[in-house]
């Protein structure tokens, strides 16, 4: 095996080019071409019809909702929507493909020529050009039985479940992603993540990576310089986590650089990603892999979305994640860096809800990105997983704003809420944390402090207000911090007669 090249070294000497194919399973109730239920997790082969089993005589009929979802995705990715497009047969033999052809789209995708602006963690925006988004169907699921490893090689036989066969997919294919340099892994990850977020707000898929609802095929090639022609690419199939997308790109860049350094020729092949070792291995090179004998599916008629329908769908598109971020940033008045931190922390929804609960945007950000972020980090948890709601933060901030507690006490209240003692109001009452606003007990404490520090009183009377803090400190200490410091100061100065 050739030597891996250190990543930094590899991207210094080679220009990486990416190509990403993302498959998303649509969240329709039924399959792409038949009325079998398309839900997840049913017992094997209990969600099939003669169509999804590929039985002799069965015929496909297109799910109209799947077409609508595909158009939604196309529009969200700034694509053009075909006036007329067709399905085609992609012929290849594989036991999980019931008809031994996949009904897909070939030279006539439903959506084409789009783009997506992808924002990296530091706010850099990279525009990814989309070549096409097309409709197709998923395959069944093989389980490999026997053999020592349980993996496919060495398996004695396989068991096939066709519940997944025929579930609608949209495949989104990028044009070559160039000009990303050492940030290629980040761009790849951010792109897939951005797509996932879009699928969710479009409500076209549950888009759960861990369930395989979203799967990425990651193409990587290297060339000596950005001016050189494209190098030969490898395609790593079915990568199904954001982190893995990033790791695959990193790994392939280092691996290919090593191969190129050693004078090897990169072969165009599919590769498999191994999460455990963080490496890719070569898939078997199949002689007929590239000869799919596509031809127009004669059992289906063309799909010709009317322009009225497309505009209707466009008009009902929800606000997309990036536009929403921009709007909220303006509304909240956050600086770019502040907003980026919020986005990276996954705190947009939390802050939005906190503001809705009455907090100012600044205070909401202060809580979630400050105290709560600190506590989440301590517990190695996500912000959203903390046992506190935006409504409770809103209430807490309300108590501060009304002067009933101060910032310092608010932190104790927070402890109480997180400890499960109830809403902020209840914690304040139960713990007796309310600010002492009655001047009576305060005046007693002030007089005591004044008597204890006559020298300070003298200096203040002499016109030097600097040392007054010592008196205030003593009062606050005596009231266990429950006094309103501003009021204490007023009263002290009044008492001294300064």
């Amino acid at each position: 095996m050739t030597q891996m090249v250190d990543y930094a070294d590899a991207v210094r000497r080679y220009d990486p080019v990416l190509g990403i194919e993302v498959h998303v399973e649509l969240g329709t109730r039924t399959k792409m071409f038949c009325s079998a239920e398309a839900s997840f997790g049913a017992a094997p082969n209990t969600q099939t019809t003669p169509v999804s089993l590929g039985l002799p005589g069965a015929l496909p009929v297109v799910n109209g909702t799947a077409v609508e979802y595909a158009i939604r995705i196309g529009l969200a990715l700034n694509c053009q929507i075909a006036e007329s497009c067709r399905f085609a047969r992609k012929n290849y033999f594989y036991p999980d493909v019931p008809k031994n052809f996949q009904t897909s789209q070939y030279d006539e995708p439903i959506a084409f020529e789009g783009w997506l602006d992808v924002e990296l963690e530091d706010g850099t925006i990279h525009r990814v050009e989309i070549e096409r988004a097309h409709m197709e169907e998923d395959a069944g699921k093989n389980t490999h039985v026997g053999g020592s490893t349980g993996r496919i090689h060495g398996a004695e036989y396989s068991l096939v479940d066709y519940n997944r066969a025929g579930i609608p997919l949209v495949e989104i294919v990028t044009k070559p992603i160039t000009g990303v340099g050492d940030r290629a892994p980040e761009v790849a990850r951010a792109y897939v993540q951005a797509l996932r977020d879009i699928f969710r707000v479009l409500d076209v898929s549950e888009a759960k990576m861990e369930r395989g609802n979203v799967r990425a095929d990651v193409n990587v090639s290297l060339r000596p310089t950005p001016e050189s022609p494209l190098g030969t690419r490898t395609e790593t199939k079915n990568v199904n986590s954001f982190r893995s997308v990033e790791r695959v790109v990193r790994h392939e860049i280092s691996r290919q650089a090593g191969a190129l350094d050693a004078g090897e020729i990169i072969v165009q092949e599919t590769r498999h990603w191994h999460e455990d070792t963080g490496t890719t291995t070569s898939g078997r090179v199949k002689s007929d892999a590239e000869d799919y004998r596509y031809f127009p599916e004669p059992d289906l008629v063309p799909v010709e979305p009317s322009r009225e329908w497309v505009e209707e769908i466009r008009a009902t598109l929800p606000e997309l994640p990036q536009a929403r971020r921009r709007r909220l940033q303006t509304e909240w008045g956050y600086a770019d860096a502040e907003m980026r931190d919020v986005v990276n922390a996954g705190a947009i929804e939390l802050i939005e809800a906190t503001v809705a609960a009455g907090s100012s945007p600044a205070a909401a950000r202060k809580w979630w990105m400050g105290e709560l972020a600190r506590r989440a980090k301590l517990n190695d948890a996500e912000l959203a997983d903390l046992p506190i709601t935006p409504a409770q933060i809103g209430e807490l901030q309300g108590l501060v704003d009304s002067g009933r507690i101060n910032d310092k006490i608010a932190r104790q209240v927070l402890d109480g809420v997180l400890a499960g003692e109830g809403d902020p109001e209840a914690v304040v009452v139960a713990r007796g944390l309310e600010i002492v606003s009655d001047d009576g007990p305060l005046l007693a404490a002030i007089d005591e402090a004044l008597a204890a520090q006559p020298d300070v009183v003298e200096k203040v009377r002499g016109g030097n207000q600097g040392p007054v803090g010592a008196i205030i400190g003593a009062v606050m200490k005596a009231t266990r911090g429950q006094a309103d410091a501003k009021r204490v100061r007023e009263l002290v100065l009044e008492r001294i007669g300064a």
């Binding site: 002799p56 005589g57 069965a58 009929v61 012929n91 052809f101 004998r293 596509y294 008629v301």
Partner: protein, 501 residues
Amino acid sequence: MTELTRLSAAVLAEKLRAGEVSSVEATQAYLDRIAAVEPAVHAYLHVSAQEALATARDVDERRAAGEELHPLAGVPIAVKDVVVTQGMPSTAGSKILEGWVPPYDATLVERIRAARMPILGKTNMDEFAMGSSTEHSAYGNTHNPWDLDRIPGGSGGGSAAAVAAFAAPLAIGTDTGGSIRQPGAVTGTVGVKPTYGGVSRYGLIALASSLDQAGPVTRTVLDSALLHELIGGHDPRDSTSIPEPLPDVVGAARQGALGDLTGVRVGVVEQLQGEGYQPGVQARFEESLELLKEAGADVVEVSCPHFEYALAAYYLILPAEASSNLAKFDGMRFGLRVEPEEGPVTAERVMAATRGAGFGDEVKRRIILGTYALSAGYYDAYYGSAQKVRTLIQRDFAAAFDQVDVLVSPTAPTTAFKLGEKLDDPLAMYLNDVATIPANLAGVPGISVPNGLSDDGLPVGFQVLAPAKADDRLYRVGAALEAALEARWGGPLLDRAPELG
């Protein structure tokens, strides 16, 4: 009792409705006839006696109880084995499907069952409907009832022979390039290929999806219309199914039988006669034209210059689509599974061994040709060019139908040839379909009506073609010709077939 089997379906239906005959009697008469002639004819791959009789009994009980039934209720029917039937073997004439019992019914079978027609069984055919003689069945030849040494046509030779041998009053066929009409012609029966999309393809084991069409095989034109009306019409499970209602084919057949074709313009296709057509076939054709003229039709000659490219286009489109449609027969989910004789037992090798052992020569030949035609680099030159010829043929039809209401030709260039005669000559075999294929390429409907015997004493067919969705014209002209011929002959042509059994 054997007389029962000689009744047309329309007459039998009438007698059933009137209570003159019971469905059990009729069904049993057919089962007896099957038992008598099958050893010689071998039209059936599977006879479902018990199920047919159960349906018949049910019909008789319902009728006795005064229930309103479909006009064809109780009339038995045979179904080509390429149509899937729940609980009844469906092999498409192939070893690879031996023993397969589908878990669902084709739409047309659902309609037959809903009409309560006893299904006598499944009829023999060329394997996966590839052939013109039924000699490519994996289960032995079907013999032509007119001469047992001759082919019954194909691929639907079983359905045609069953009907011609009075072993079924009605049968279902499928026609991809002539597989209903050509067997009809060579067995003296009526066969109709409806407009593409006129009868649901759901549940037909696909040969070439853009060409396949199911239709009736009967002894009279009216019987075909009655069956067509039952199985035709929109089916949401077939995306290519015509949404508009079927024209009134039964009414057209009844009107045609009155014998008046005044004002009907009939076009004789210049390219579908003459050289290559047997003299007896040509002679009967010209006599039939005279009869149409006598009935008042205007007969003119029309030219369809691209028909000469039809056969070539057909043999690119059909294998290409078939190679993909037949990919699912791989020994993984249903049907035959064969393990390789030596070497590792992998899915890939089992698929290849199963297909190598399970498919017959003609099927392999066409799959290889189709795979080649779709393979890298050849798509445009082969399949793509063939689809262009389709456009040209459609234009020919359109231009012709601007001038005339129907087009006519001999159905097949020759009468039934001897079994084995063309088995080793695929091209000669393919030429049988030269007159029927243009309709499949263009999607237009066609009928074959028996119009006499050639000099060799074997039946000849007369083909009528109509514009898409105008299937009723076939029935009007077909029934008029049938009436005129039977008046001249003094009875149906099949009366002159040799006795069997």
